[in-house]
């Protein structure tokens, strides 16, 4: 019996749950404390955005909404590591990354409020990103296809997809990393392992010790990272992006975090998971540790937090107003984006719908 190949999975963390540095080689970007504050603010505004969405749903002003509470470090870590020219193919829960890339809160509200225009992102770089994908893991292949396009055209761009722990079970994820490995594509797949896929816990999804090791099947660069540690996520994704940009191929990053919320606003997680688990998870949540770290550095304080909170609240109020004032599309919108040009038969169906609308309203 001879060993022909070996693998290892590493775990990356810089800040512990209390914001204490767990190693002394913090990445260079952490020296820029203004930037670190800006990142914290982005995490914060993501949380405010998210809470607003939940409350809109509770008051009947939004459809079902999947909260990203607890994902803030993963989101801003990914968002801030990416360059504008990169492309993002997110799943439905990754609003924070989208916001960081220029999707407007009103757009996300509009989408979950039931209007397709919410996916017609108006601002770059989000404008060239994929809309969030609901069919699990399908977005991974859109990222792989994008990565292939970049490689073929010699563009120094990277495609990033995010998916859940549940998503790692689906063939699309495996297919995407397999092609990325076979064709050396600039693809970075970030698994946001929040321990739950609706009611199914992480260990029922896979016997694998880590989800990062799934990338071994494709010979990608595989790392597990503390997904509640912004610095660790940002650094690891950054490394993966640089590898990809340099032509060194794709990565699978597992960001270990926790879904602090119900699955969506129509879910009640107490049906299937222990309150104590959630309490325990709150002690490790991502905002606190970064706040402590920034407090320690003397660049953040309660007054600043209060001011920023107010600013975020005001922003979300404005965004909410803008969303609520958006008139529903006319019935013709059912038809008008099906093809570039309306085929004859569909044009007749559109006419019918229009005249019924005039008749019955």
């Amino acid at each position: 019996m001879s060993v022909i190949t070996t693998f290892k999975i590493e775990y990356v963390q810089y800040l512990d749950a209390e914001g204490k540095e767990t190693r002394n080689d913090l990445p260079a970007f952490t020296k820029d404390l203004d930037h670190m504050v800006a990142l914290y603010k982005s995490m914060f505004s993501t949380r405010v955005f998210d809470a607003k969405a939940v409350s809109l749903q509770r008051t009947g002003k939004l459809g079902t909404y999947p909260s990203c509470l607890g994902h803030e470090a993963a989101h801003i870590g990914i968002g801030s590591a990416m360059r504008a020219e990169d492309v993002l193919a997110p799943s439905y829960r990754e609003s924070g990354i989208q916001l960081y890339r220029g999707v407007q809160p009103r757009e996300i509200y509009l989408y979950w409020g039931g209007d397709e225009r919410g996916s017609d992102y108006q601002h770059e770089p989000a404008r060239h990103d994929f809309p969030c994908a609901v069919p699990i893991a399908t977005q991974c292949l859109h990222a792989a296809g994008s990565a292939l396009a970049f490689k073929l055209r010699g563009e120094k761009r990277v495609a990033v997809c995010t998916l859940g722990d549940g998503g790692t079970s689906k063939g699309d994820f495996y297919g995407a990393i397999n092609v990325a490995g076979a064709q050396n594509l600039p693809l970075v797949a970030v698994i946001i392992n929040n321990q739950w896929a609706i009611s199914v816990p992480r260990q029922k999804q896979s016997g694998a010790t880590t989800l990062a090791q799934k990338g071994i099947a494709a010979n990608l660069y595989c790392v597990q990272v503390d997904g509640n540690d912004l610095i660790a996520v940002r650094k690891t994704v950054n490394d993966a992006l640089e590898r990809a940009r340099a032509g060194k191929g794709g990565s699978v990053i597992e960001a270990v975090t926790y879904r602090l919320s119900d699955h969506t606003t129509v879910d009640d997680a107490r049906r299937y998971r222990d309150d104590r688990e959630v309490e325990e998870a709150w002690t490790k949540e991502p905002m606190k540790r970064l706040r402590h770290w920034l407090l320690g550095k003397g660049v953040w304080d309660d007054a600043k937090e209060e001011a920023w909170k107010n600013a975020c609240d005001r922003r979300m109020e404005d965004e909410t107003m803008a969303y609520l004032e958006t008139k529903t599309q006319p019935v013709t919108a059912l038809f008008d984006y099906t093809f570039a040009q309306l085929p004859v038969d569909l044009a007749r169906q559109r006419e019918d719908a229009l005249s019924r609308e005039k008749l019955h309203g």
């Binding site: 989408y111 409020g113 039931g114 209007d115 069919p135 079970s169 896929a197 609706i198 049906r271 019935v331």
Partner: protein, 326 residues
């Protein structure tokens, strides 16, 4: 006996059959402790154990293929696709093996499996959750496609589907999951597959429909009666193999036919009904057949959802139009 909803009737049928047949088991996403996102498997894990109600990893391809493996080994798996809009990855396994193994092996191996899926729109669900795609399965030989529209029919037909030695796609119209209640005795009595159900007798026009549109169609029939138009309402229920005789008999009487369904019109299953009408009942017909369906577009997000779905108004208009045309 308390009246129960359609989704409770599904749960009741599952429980009955699990109680009486050890080989019945349930697999899917969130079917265990959570009881399914619609609670169709509520309490079953607790009652029958994790060995018989199995939460699967999130991959529809796997779930479909494993269902086939279980069925071939003599189990009677009831597999849940969480929404009909997520059933697509199951198609290769269902079409190439599930529906074909009996034929492929000349009867040596069989697949007594049921694939359940909450189906259709109308509950303001997120994107991709509202597909009505029964047509996808209706052209696959060796498969039954069943779509009940009342608690009693859901109960009786799900029992029949599980007991049937061949694979069944069992779509559940989730818009009416909790709409009406009726008393459904838990007596283990199956209802017959492969037959249409006449829900209302009438002499003037035959309204053919299935799934959640049964509701609007019955309402339309009721309202039409006030105008003196007597509509016969047929719930097709088992789309394939189709019982066209019942429909033909009705049309022989009414001479007029309107077909109602939620899926897009072109190549929807309504086309098959209309085709059989023109093949078989041409000389009975006094006016063109009408189809009241979703348009040939994607189910929109929730703000426009009701504009998409066939309405009572549209059904009534179509009935009046076909009668006026003769």
């Amino acid at each position: 006996m308390a009246a129960i909803t359609l989704v409770e009737a599904v749960a009741q049928a599952l429980a009955y059959e699990m109680q009486h047949d050890d080989s019945v088991l349930i697999l899917g996403e969130d079917v265990g402790i959570n009881g399914g996102v619609f609670r169709a498997t509520l309490g079953l894990e607790k009652r029958f154990g994790k060995q018989r109600v199995i939460d699967m990893p999130l991959d529809e391809t796997s779930i479909a293929g494993i269902t086939i493996g279980l069925a071939v080994q003599g189990m009677k798996p009831v597999c849940e696709s969480q929404f009909a809009g997520f059933i697509y990855p199951m198609l290769e396994q269902i079409s190439c093996h599930g529906a074909r193994l009996r034929s492929r092996t000349r009867g040596r191996l069989t697949v007594p499996a049921v694939w359940r899926a909450p189906w259709g729109g109308g509950i303001h669900a997120p994107e991709h959750h509202s597909d009505a795609n029964e047509h996808l399965f209706a052209n696959i030989p060796g498969l039954r496609v069943v779509l009940p529209s009342s608690p009693a029919r859901a109960y009786g037909l799900l029992l029949a589907a599980i007991r049937d030695p061949d694979p069944v796609i069992f779509f559940e119209p989730k818009r009416i999951y909790r709409l009406d209640k009726e008393e459904v005795p838990d007596d283990g009595e199956a209802l017959p597959l492969d037959v249409c159900f006449i829900l209302r007798d009438g002499s003037d026009v035959t309204l053919v429909t299935w799934g959640s549109q049964v509701k609007e169609t019955l309402e339309a029939a009721h309202a039409l009666a006030k105008e003196g138009i007597h509509a016969e309402v047929i719930d097709v229920v088992t789309l394939t193999p189709i019982d066209f005789d019942t429909i033909a008999t009705s049309i022989a009487k009414t001479k007029h036919c309107v077909i109602v369904h939620e899926a897009p019109k072109t190549a929807g299953f309504g086309a098959e009904i209309a085709a059989r009408v023109v093949e078989t009942c041409l000389y009975d017909l006094l006016a063109p057949v009408e189809r009241v369906t979703g348009p040939d577009t994607h189910m929109p997000l929730l703000r426009l959802e009701t504009k998409y779905l066939p309405s009572v108004e549209r059904i009534m208009d179509a009935a009046r139009r076909t009668l006026a045309a003769s």
